[in-house]
């Protein structure tokens, strides 16, 4: 009874904050109806056990559902937002049962096996109330209103529990202080968090380099020791029947070498015009092959891996895409969605025409490059072929040892003659440029591991690759001088449990694809039908189960106050006045003793008349009644005056 209306308000608040108002209103209505319906169901422990088990089942189901759809829902937020719905049946059943509090063994399975009876019990009204208030706070909307409303609701819920030790203004003062302090505290928490975040962002930005930046890419060139590579599956590529898989998916290309990284000369991005919603045409050319790429973007701004000859991008979950001169396609406003399609041809048309920077070679490296070209006679009629031949002597290795003084590329070309793809690609670009051929450094992924289980190519983190493109005969041409053995070398390092992890990842992937293809409308009729059947069963069970009518049926009087003789005696007003003033009669204490104890022994004669009124079969005369009434009125007035001036309260009678 304590949370009448307050619980309803809390449910509405929760519904408004979490956009679950359609749930909240019926829930609140059913809850408040409790106070109007005088019917309670006589449930046993076993019934509560069953409902608690059902709730647990739903809870686990919800967790699994949310985990499986974690790209659509924020796991914790959604879970907390739905908690009131989840626990509502349990609380409601308790509310409509003849039990007041939920015994803890209903909620905790371990207590059910215990031999001694469980005595602890929870007030589930407050439990639901707390859930609503917390769940309402999981949405960022209404940030201004959340604190005042939540705090007021809390105060209203705490109001009936207040101590009679304090006057009302004491309680109001305490709550007011809590409001004020709470407001200041939460403002401070928010401020601190923002400040920390600002500092952390600066700190992180100084330490972490993004790999896929269209303007600059950091390589591992110059790193000493063994390179760490990961087997994590990044995305999958599906080739429709009769199609052909591209060798590489390009993310971006670069023209400016700077230390151990590559950057671009021309920073300009242009927005690609939509052909349709989620459909962009890059190049007009009918000759094309389709390709499905299953990749989920977890950030709103991301580089999109595509074949270098892409004509068309379709179903990409982006608001806009931009492209630059270097073949980088950047999607903005990306949302998670499992798949996009491309149509491509076997050329390199997304890379723009060469510019001056494409022939730039740092002065410090020119001498070595010229010497190598001269000694190996590389600038013959087919420089690209001769380069392949030159690099065929090199070894692929993820391990590097070099001293601080060495320039890594020179060390690679001149002495160690071993390295990974970034070495090969960087060196190839520089050699080509030294021979007068415009060249660029490209990053992307190699498409080479076919997975028969899902019938698609798998692209892992370690399939990230870099290569060179050379502008030969009026078009860009891939020059990948890295020994073909690189993929095998890297796959040799994968862990033993990788097949198991892959299987899990594949199952998860297949489920995600299946789930994405489901439409709710396919199932609506089934759901409605099942819901109808279950609803009928529930209604039958509810109305046929044992019930107790709270309303007494034997009295014909509607006014329940006039149920005993003498209840109209004015002395009750005096008792009430004394009780309000804080004088409570102890259990079992006689009224006369009580009056004497609290120092109002002078009222005892009135009490005698009052008791005559109530219990004497002969009753009291109307004159006595009138006199008692006037005496009581006078006493209450006197009492009011006394209590205002505390010093006038009589001392206790010895």
């Amino acid at each position: 009874m304590k949370l009448r209306y307050v619980q309803f308000a809390a449910l509405l608040f929760w519904g408004l904050q979490t956009d679950l108002l359609l749930w909240a209103i019926p829930m609140g209505a059913v809850w408040e109806a409790r106070f109007f319906i005088n019917r309670r169901w006589n449930l046993e422990k076993r019934d509560f056990y069953q409902i608690a088990d059902l709730t647990t089942l739903f809870f686990v189901g919800l967790c699994i559902f949310l985990y499986a759809n974690r790209t659509e829902y924020h796991f914790i937020t959604a879970l907390v937002q739905w908690l009131p719905i989840l626990f509502f049946p349990l609380v409601l059943v308790l509310g409509y049962s003849t039990t007041d509090r939920m015994s803890l063994d209903v909620l905790f399975y371990s207590l059910r096996r215990q031999k001694q009876p469980v005595t602890q019990a929870w007030d589930m009204d407050y439990f639901l109330f707390g859930l609503c208030i917390v769940a309402a706070g999981t949405n960022m909307e209404g940030a201004v209103f959340y604190f005042p409303i939540a705090a007021s609701l809390m105060a209203l819920a705490l109001f009936p529990l207040r101590s009679s030790r304090y006057k009302l203004n004491g309680w109001v003062l305490a709550v007011g202080l809590i409001f004020l302090a709470g407001f200041m505290t939460h403002t401070a928490i928010r401020g601190t968090h923002l400040e920390l975040k600002k500092r952390a962002q600066v700190w992180i930005a100084n330490w972490v380099q993004q790999r896929s930046n269209p303007l600059k890419t950091q390589t591992s060139i110059g790193a000493v020791g063994k390179l760490k590579i990961s087997d994590e599956i990044l995305f999958r590529v599906s080739v429709p029947d009769g199609g052909i898989a591209p060798r590489f998916l390009q993310e971006a290309s670069y023209d400016l070498p700077s230390g151990n990284s590559w950057a671009v000369m021309n920073l300009k991005f242009t927005t690609v015009q939509h052909e349709d919603d989620f459909r962009w045409r890059l190049i007009d050319d009918q000759q094309s092959y389709p390709l499905d790429i299953y990749m989920e973007f977890d950030r709103p701004l991301a580089l999109i891996p595509i074949p270098a000859g892409t004509r068309l991008i379709n179903d990409l979950p982006a608001i806009d895409i931009q492209r630059n001169d270097y073949g980088a396609i950047q999607g903005s406003g990306m949302v998670p969605s499992p798949r996009y399609q491309v149509e491509f041809g076997f050329d390199n048309q997304i890379n723009g025409l060469p510019n001056k920077a494409d022939t730039y070679v740092p002065k410090t490296k020119q001498a070595l490059l010229s010497r190598l070209i001269a000694t190996n006679n590389l600038s013959a009629e087919d420089p690209v072929q001769s380069l392949y031949k030159f690099f065929s002597d090199f070894r692929y290795s993820l391990y590097q040892d070099l001293s601080d003084q060495d320039d890594p590329i020179e060390h690679f070309l001149d002495s160690s003659r071993k390295g990974h793809c970034e070495y090969f690609a960087s060196a190839t670009v520089l050699m080509l440029r030294q021979m007068g051929i415009p060249a660029r450094y490209v990053i992307g992924y190699a498409v080479q591991e076919y997975d028969p289980l899902v019938g698609m190519y798998i692209v892992r983190q370690r399939h990230a690759h870099s290569w060179a493109i050379a502008f030969v005969g009026d078009q860009w041409q891939v020059v990948d001088t890295t020994p073909a053995i690189w993929a095998d070398t890297e796959s040799d390092q994968s862990s033993l449990i990788q097949p198991a992890l892959d299987l899990l990842a594949n199952l998860n992937f297949m489920y995600a694809v299946w789930w994405n293809d489901q439409q709710l409308s396919d199932y609506e009729n089934y759901l409605l039908f099942i819901g109808l059947i279950l609803g009928l069963i529930l209604a039958y069970r509810i109305f046929t189960s044992e019930q107790i009518d709270l309303k007494p049926t034997h009295t014909s009087k509607t006014d329940s106050d006039s149920e005993f003789l003498g209840n109209e005696s004015p002395f009750y007003r005096l008792i009430e006045r004394l009780t309000v003033a804080g004088f409570n009669r102890a259990k079992g204490e006689l009224p006369a003793d009580w009056l004497k104890r609290i120092g109002y022994g002078r009222y005892v004669p009135m009490l005698v008349t009052h008791q005559k009124w109530r219990f004497d079969p002969l009753g009291v005369s109307s004159e006595d009644k009138a006199e008692l009434t006037s005496q009581v009125d006078a006493s209450i007035e006197g009492l009011n005056a006394d209590l205002d001036d505390e010093n006038q309260v009589p001392q206790k009678l010895k």
Binding site: G130, V134, G137, A151, L161, S163, I178, H193, R597, Q651
Partner: protein, 440 residues
Amino acid sequence: MFRDRVYPAYVRAMRPRLRRKRQGTDRSQALGPLIVFCAVLGLNTDESLVYQLFAFLLCAILISRFSLRLSKPNVSVHRKLPNYATADQPFEYQIIVDNTGNRTEADLRLVDIPLVQPPTRQQFRTEAEPGETSRNAYDQFIGFHRFIYLQRRNTGITIEPAQVPDIARKSHVTVRMQATPSRRGLIQLSRTHILHPDPLNLYEGITRFENPETMLILPKRYSINAKVFLPGGRHFQPGGISASWSIGESDEFVSLRDYRDGDSMRKIHWPSSAKQNKPVVREFQDEYFVRQALVLDNTCVISEQLEEAISIAATFLLALNNSDSMLDLIYLADQAEILTSGRGTSAINEQLETLATLKRSDESASKLLNASLEHIKKLSGCILILSGWSNAQKDLADSLSRSGVPLKVFIITDERTANDIPAQYVPLPINRIQEVLSAL
């Protein structure tokens, strides 16, 4: 090994915290998990507003704790204990709370605290909790449940907190406390706490009163039909008993007292029972010239069996005494002791007190036999209670039954040895004592 190591940690962890200034109510205990939940959920203030709720709850807790200091009650307490209580039987006593301050004290709670006695190292090592073998292996290994059980048993009493009615200034009230002793013997009450709430009723401040007092708990008793066990009757009248002025059951009314198991239904004083909402019996001055003996063998090493033997002895003591007897209680201390009650010799209280504080004796049961045989000619009947069934105890039972005095022998056993006991004696399997006694 592990027990020895972990013992001091348990003692430290379970020691009552004397310096505590406040305690939480149910509500603050519910707020605890809620505030942790809010803290975790509200950690990222970009994603949820729960941190605002966290701030509110935190301030509510801090302010309500602080406000406890501002409203300490001005009271003093005085406890009034009854002379005796019975193990396993709830009893009531009074605490008088005196308001010495200048305002009405409202919404106070009273908590009376027994002296918490942790088990000794020896106890913790050797004495098992009943049903300990049915606990899981982990619980059995760490022995925490055993520690708790032994500490509760040593402490020996649980007292319900009570609500104090409002006390007008310079006035006092009497609060009735409900307590349940769980063992016989002396128990110690140490402190009384007055708890006052904060305005939100989240926490309660503690006002502490050192209030040490000791009380005696009589052994637990079973209900029996007393007539079954009166082998003698009124025919036997030894001389030398001076304090009698009539023969037979006198109607001399002495007092009223709480019902104890074993009291006859006929003695219940119905008007008082109705008033107090629990059975109350009349006590009469008893006069009779029958002399009976209750021989209690307190040599058993198994404490559970010894306790039961003492309970049975107390049961018979009251059953026999109430109607018509001079009664000798024969037991072993440093030597065999005989304590006689009735006919103005001494009151049955003394015998019950003796039983309440009786310990196991290392003496041999044969001493008990000698004392009983010396005495046996004066007796019209004898009840022998054996706490086990060893050879010495067997010998005691057989010798006494050969002496010719009407004899009843009750033997506390476990289920297994119950079948070895000769038919003329009554075995009392330890878990079914009440059942067997009722069936007699």
